[in-house]
Subunit: 326 residues, 2 copies
Amino acid sequence: MSRVLNNSKHVSEELKERVLSVVEETNFKPNLLARGLVNKKTNLIGVLIPRISNNFFSQLIEGINEVAENYGYNILLSTSYNNLQKELEYLNIFVDRQLDGIILAVTDFSDQHKSFFEKTTIPTVFMGQQLDKGKYPYVTIDNVKASCEATRFLINQKHQKIAILAGPDFDIATGDNRLQGYLEALKEANLPINPRWQTRRYHTIEDGYQAAAQIMSQQERPTAIFACSDQQALGAINYLHEHGYDVPGDISVVGFDDIDLASVFKPKLTTIKQNPVDIGTTAARLLIDQIKERPIPFKGNYIPFRLVVRESTKSWNDVEKPNYNQ
Amino acid sequence: MSRVLNNSKHVSEELKERVLSVVEETNFKPNLLARGLVNKKTNLIGVLIPRISNNFFSQLIEGINEVAENYGYNILLSTSYNNLQKELEYLNIFVDRQLDGIILAVTDFSDQHKSFFEKTTIPTVFMGQQLDKGKYPYVTIDNVKASCEATRFLINQKHQKIAILAGPDFDIATGDNRLQGYLEALKEANLPINPRWQTRRYHTIEDGYQAAAQIMSQQERPTAIFACSDQQALGAINYLHEHGYDVPGDISVVGFDDIDLASVFKPKLTTIKQNPVDIGTTAARLLIDQIKERPIPFKGNYIPFRLVVRESTKSWNDVEKPNYNQ
DNA sequence: CTGTTAGCGCGTTCAA
DNA sequence: TTGAACGCGCTAACAG
């Protein structure tokens, strides 16, 4: 029976047919739990992300789902809400449930993470950033480079006073890395670096609004803002509009991600376009390669990005200098 | 051993401690597959939705996840992309994997669905609409009522020519039901019903744009548009802006869902606010009640909604009648 | 109260 | 080539 269903060799045609007809008649379904118990395989991939209701992450999942489906895997989904304890809890659940692999978008990489991944042998792929010096396979865009490019673009547009709304403190990718790219671009152009034009906040509209408020309430104001997420960019623009600034007339704003609505928003957002679905599919393929013990070509897989120039930015040469901007 | 771990009665303190200390030392983890094989329980809930990268659905999942977590369940996530075959495929996988329960957001309810659910005994809760005359437990907002309320609001605003951008043909909730509510409100007010002011399309920005194009290219144009999703509303406004209409100056637009960005968009969207997280938590609780064989009070659970009036609508009395609107 | 054993439904091994 | 027995790791039932 088992031999027929699993396409073993050395089975006579006759027996095969006989078994299959009985299978058909009795509507027999193999018990996947029992099978898993013997095979030590569950055909289940654990996906752990900070939150689902963020377009970026949900698109990652769509990508993962697409290839997982093709290979007969299903997805066990969990969300950490950026909570370290929860994250480790779920990782342990993944182990207990004997999942075949894990795809993970962490923000922070603590010592506890480290010791966890040293202990476990479950194939794992990280998304969103390189971790522990590239010890584990990962898929991401090059955040430093992307951020550098966005900043350079503003510099080419003759902006000299550029603020950045980076991700929260613990977030390496959208915080540290993107801040780094921004600083590199500024240094490269010999522009002054002003710590007061740098904020580290969550990627929400509200936080973007607050960040803009904080930056614009200072004596010296920037002429351009580079927000490390479209959400923060939208929040910032909202603040600017409410306080009488025109975008891009008075201030240019660049976002990050190119969410659905970035091109519908007024003004249409200039932003770095990531392709999260690609990140997801690549991560899933990498994971399945690992599960099947195929050699992995590269630990680090960088997914292309590109700057999409729309209407929220303007060359500083072209704007009539407003008098409230000293 | 088993008795200790499962908190059976009649275990001496001494044995308990002895066992637990060994468990501690050897870092013993029970094999959940073997346990499931015996207990016929997986502590896994299958969630099947049309797509993840839609804020409405991802919030549903967040709600489900929240209560599932509290009860020790994990989520097996699948997406149907509104594809009937895929949907049935996944439902069968859910059965094969012996999930403890299913939460499902279908758009269509075919005969194949029907026969599937007549055969299976897995506890199931539907989200988004009542199905098969309320035979199965479901959680939703009252789409007819909500749509009626939105339309009534426009009527109270003195609009007489009101168009509707409804959901796709096969979609009962955002298509049929919302169209029905719209029609009821019009009849109630003795307003003319114009089939040319009704479209049935997907809930995307692009489709909203196209729908608006279709409606506004006619001889007689409406003065208000009720879009059955914020996405369509945004697309419609985009079209209107591009073609010289002011919103709400020339045309009022009402949306549906109150997505994140509805309040940031210009003009801020008047829309029906659903609470998808509540729908998710309620569905999950209902499902767990069913799994634990607790009696379910109501098959139908209606989650409240409310109309949020912002800036995309205006009383028709207050607008200067433009000459292009005959 | 506790040690032992049967059996959950598979895949695999060992004879035949 | 194939049938039968064994064991995956657990829980439940049965003795003791």
